[in-house]
């Protein structure tokens, strides 16, 4: 194989590899799903849904009461609560920046975190 062809081949392979890595990194960033759980204005959990294990846990309200947060397949929702209206449960999984999951009676919010501030 002539030297020129070899060089072109090597460069092509390097460029290809770089493109694959770049795509991977880019996609990782685009897919990053950082969410915050906020109680009474204070961020009590910051979670990356792309790497969180499936699980449920309770968050107790300082005034009594609880909300059960469930993480499943990269989604997050409030699956149970003892608030009177259950609006937080009815909202379903967090899916939009303008529609956070909110439990007004317990002052609990699950929202997407600002990408920039991470």
């Amino acid at each position: 194989m002539p030297k020129g062809v070899k060089i072109v081949l090597v460069i092509t392979v390097i460029l290809f590899a770089a493109a694959v890595v770049a795509m991977f990194v880019f996609n990782r960033q685009a897919d990053r799903k950082i969410v915050e759980i906020v109680q009474n204005g204070e961020v009590i959990y910051t979670l990356d849904l792309t790497s969180e294990k499936d699980r449920s846990f309770n968050i107790d309200s300082p005034d009594g009461g609880y909300n059960t947060v469930t993480i499943s397949d990269g989604t997050i929702c409030i699956s149970d609560a003892d608030c009177p209206d259950h609006t937080c449960i009815k909202t379903g999984v967090l899916r939009s920046e303008t529609i956070p999951v909110v439990c007004l009676p317990h002052r609990l919010v699950i929202r997407f975190a600002e990408e920039d501030s991470q």
Partner: protein, 329 residues
């Protein structure tokens, strides 16, 4: 009512600055970009608290509470309160009473203000309806008179007026790119910093844990009234929701389950989303055909989406429901 506000640290001009707070019985998030964003957010949260103090019908120090307990005497209120009431009267007139800021006693009777829900008997509703009539309220400058036997609440306008007020502060501070969500009532300044439109999700009224559609907007308010937002179910499985038809004092059931209004002013979008929900499909369509100063997305109780033609290209159906464009005439 008003719990707390939180602000992110200043970093650079292209970065998002956010604030969030509980106010007006809801959760609000504010996001602004640019040099003065942080200052604008502080002024905005202060302004929201100030407005809440004037408008909270349950707080004895508010203008609205004082008007409701003034025994029919004229009271001088803040210019904000006076102009919201004037707007309420105007939208009442424009929608032939489909918006009525004096429906409050009926809403209370159903328990929507306290969460102690009940289905009132017809006699009770009728006797309360006798004193529901926005046209008997008078506004003269900052002097407002609410008749003795009447009570008002500005819940159908307050958040829209508030998001307008926040936009005004942002503009004064030179903010070119910002979006706020006041309990799902969205309003934006300009476009995103990258020049693209803002994407606003609207909830599917038949499955509130999913989206009905995404609308792309810039420099607009997007406000939805839906029957899924606050409702209760009786022993027989009937649902009763919080948007009361001023004509009969019962939850408005005129063919619509969700009305989204997209327009330049939050207060208009807020007023019309409530009024046109109560009005029902036909009246909503003809109101738009005669006005055309806004866009709208209706969802009928039969699962049909209807949207105005200007939204074509900015509307993405995210549901299984068919969507059709409303004819211009």
């Amino acid at each position: 009512m008003w719990g707390c506000s939180q602000q992110s640290p200043v970093k650079n001009a292209s970065e998002a600055h956010t604030a969030d707070l509980f106010a007006m019985d809801t959760y609000m998030t504010l996001k602004a970009y640019g040099d003065n964003a942080e200052k604008a957010l502080t002024s905005a949260t202060n302004r929201i608290t100030e407005l809440e103090g004037m408008l909270d019908v349950t707080s004895p120090s508010s203008d609205v509470y004082k008007l409701d307990n003034a025994n029919g005497n004229a009271l001088t209120v803040s210019p904000d309160t006076a102009s919201i009431i004037a707007a309420g009267i105007e939208y009442g007139r424009l929608t032939d009473g489909d918006l009525d800021i004096s429906i409050y006693p009926v809403l209370k009777e159903w328990g929507f203000t306290t969460g102690e829900y009940k289905v009132p008997d017809k006699q009770t509703i009728d006797s309360l309806l006798a004193d529901v009539d926005y046209s008997r309220i008078t506004v003269n400058g900052d002097s407002v008179t609410v008749p003795e036997d009447m009570q008002i609440d500005l819940g159908s306008l307050a958040k829209g007026y508030t998001s307008d007020a926040v936009m005004e502060i942002f503009r004064e501070e030179g903010v070119k790119s910002a979006i706020v969500s006041l309990g799902g009532n969205v309003q934006a300044i300009g476009k995103k910093p990258d020049g693209s439109d803002w994407s606003v999700a609207v909830v599917n009224p038949f499955a509130p844990d999913t989206d009905m559609c995404i609308v792309e907007i810039d420099e607009k308010a997007v406000i939805t009234s839906g029957n899924y937002e606050r409702y209760f179910t009786d022993d027989e499985g009937n649902n009763y929701w919080h948007i009361i038809d001023p004509k009969d004092g019962c939850p408005a059931d005129n063919g619509l389950v969700s009305v989204t209004i997209i327009g330049d002013r939050g207060i208009m979008c807020d007023a019309l989303s409530t009024a046109l929900f109560a009005a029902g499909t036909e009246k909503a369509v003809s109101y738009w055909q005669n006005d055309k100063g806004f866009d709208m997305i209706l969802v009928t109780d039969e699962g049909q989406i209807m949207y105005t033609p200007e939204l074509s290209g900015h509307f993405r159906n995210a549901s299984n429901m068919p969507a059709e464009v409303i004819s211009v005439a």
